[in-house]
Symmetry: C2
Subunit: 347 residues, 2 copies
DNA sequence: CTGATGATCGTGAGCGCTAACATATGCTTC
DNA sequence: GAAGCATATGTTAGCGCTCACGATCATCAG
């Protein structure tokens, strides 16, 4: 049937068995139309009989069509990253691509060489899931090389130079952030505070814009790490302040940290305090209370990033960037202001 | 400095510039001791000047030492999987290996060919993160081929044949499951129920064993999917039963679902109901109330799986499987029984 | 019936690298 | 100072595949 021999079967073994040249076998496995049906059938039979399977390295080396993408990212356990990855994988698989993943350490600083060493060879296509300094830097390095690169990002703008770049797939989370902020304002909150994730924030920009439009001076942003724990620590002070009645969080994990802090300090959600997250992670709907959050289509971002790359690879053209519009999902961590606590002064 | 030319620089370009043969360059980039220091320096200078970077495909094809592992898994967004992956990556990077990830769809049934097509070529080393039917099947397929395979698993035994296999890295979650069950029993609970994840369960075995040791007839296992939502659905009935005072859950996500169900049905945790999870996921400590769970060293499992593979690759020997001992972390979802609700009959 | 045309297939070269062997050198050793 | 041996480098072949071409054959217009 297959395997078990010493040396793996090659295209030549198949060719011999099928009574054709190795090139014809190559044509068959590459779906070339230039092969007679009868021949194709014979070759396929030989392939099946020998259990032949093309060697990917050889194909790459021989310079055929590109069939793999390298994904550069940092933390694969972040919800956004994981989902984006999943989207890339789905799309890649559907197109017969192999996905190679290389994980960078957010705490480390890499020089150019170290970044470039992550891709299989110079010029190999890559996708960067960018959401922190390390990945943004990686992206810049790849951009300078002759590599075809696409960037998938959860929506953070990551700095001016990337805005409008033609290889960017992103989420318009700036607009939703503004919408979410306005939503809170419309419910009577005098102010909305922002607990930020470590990356440059378009979410923060949306929040600022919405406040300014309402004539409210944005209060200083509170910074948190990526973990629930860090959000908890960062939010303790904020939550303890009775003047704070609404907090917009950089993502769901941070929101969970805030919720825990609220619980610890005895503030009722949503009675005393409204909280909004970002991501709509699987737990959001089942938290106690269920979290009001923003549904970010990370998988769509991943798929889009791959599509963009594929188009660049095929047509060499300049596909335009895609922007996806997320949606606010109202659940039970948000409510009208002034339901119980006084907006000013501690009574 | 580098890049920007038409054809990427090869080993020959470096050789010419350094005034040596290509083989000497090869020796340098492979850290062969057989090169004079002066020559090595000259070659390294040429490498730096040209921005040379070895082509991975060519190296693989030429049959040098193996430098990449393919990881087969299903859901990368599951906490256990993601962490295991992370462990593999850490270890792989430290050893100069490239990690190739191929994600299988748990809902799909793959035939042998489709599985084998996931690895770069016949015989390429692979690690399977096994925790469901699809990955277990993948593992069997790889095992039959001449591929070097290691299996990393969160501890589910996955069927008799795998017990004691010499290529398995696992967690002794059977023992902790028993310990956790006993812990609940010792607190006065008359019974402990089990909400199961979809895979074959050593955790379940531990639970059964502990109950039987205590002379208690295990009640029927309640089955859940992997998502919080499915756990919630599955647990509703269980939670509504006042006789049920303690539930051991297949993982943290399920526990969160149970907790939500308890909240919905008005049962107090830990007053009326004790809940234990598995994983110690990042949220566990910050849930309201904080979740009693088991710290499973998934990263360690991942690292171990890679180490095992490396040993097999190098020595060809038969390294023994590693079993890691997880720990019960008591937080606030567990408490003594009978604190409030009557053990039998609805009053 | 001749040449042109298109479909089908084969041949040779080479992708960038490493293994295996061959070939210099220098340095011992008796 | 010839034989022996280690050290340092070069040469050749080939991994498995695809590309660019060339060859073959049937078909068909003129």
């Amino acid at each position: 049937m297959s395997a078990a021999e010493s040396r793996p079967v090659s295209i030549f073994d198949v060719a011999k068995l099928a009574g054709v040249s190795h090139q014809t076998v190559s044509r068959v496995i590459n779906d070339s139309p230039q092969v007679a049906d009868a021949t194709r059938a014979r070759v396929n039979a030989a392939i099946a009989e020998l259990g032949y399977r093309p060697n990917r390295s050889a194909r790459t080396l021989a310079g055929g069509a590109v069939r793999s993408v390298t994904v550069l990212t940092t933390d694969t356990s972040l919800y956004g990253t994981a989902e984006t990855l999943r989207g890339i994988e789905d799309a890649a698989r559907a197109n017969g691509f192999t996905v190679l993943i290389s994980v960078l350490d957010p705490a480390e600083t890499y020089d150019e060489d170290e970044i470039l060493a992550r891709i299989p060879h110079d010029g190999a296509p890559a996708i960067v899931i960018a959401h922190d300094d390390t990945t943004v830097r990686a992206m810049r390095v790849l951009q300078k090389s002759q590599t075809h690169t696409t960037v998938a990002t959860g929506g953070e703008h990551l700095g001016i130079e990337l805005d409008g770049a033609d290889w960017l797939v992103s989420l318009d989370d700036r607009t939703v952030a503004a919408r979410a902020t306005k939503y809170l304002l419309d419910m009577g909150h005098r102010n909305v505070h922002y607990l930020a994730i470590p990356s440059k924030a378009s979410r923060q920009a949306g929040w600022t814009a919405a406040l300014e439009e309402a004539g409210i001076e944005p209060s200083p942003v509170v910074h948190s790490g990526w973990t629930v724990g860090s959000a908890y620590e960062a939010a303790l002070e904020l939550v303890a302040d009775p003047d704070v009645t609404a907090i917009l969080c950089g993502n769901d994990d941070l929101a969970f940290g805030v919720l825990y802090a609220a619980h610890k300090t005895g503030r009722d959600v949503p009675g005393d305090l409204s909280v909004i997250g970002f991501d709509d992670s699987p737990l959001a709907a089942y938290h106690v209370p269920p979290l009001t959050t923003v549904d970010l289509d990370f998988r769509g971002v991943g798929r889009g990033a791959f599509e963009l790359l594929r188009q660049k690879l095929e047509s060499g053209g300049q596909p335009r960037p895609t922007w996806r519009s997320p949606e606010l999902i109202v659940r039970e961590t948000t409510g009208p202001a002034d339901r119980r606590s006084a907006p000013k002064g501690k009574p």
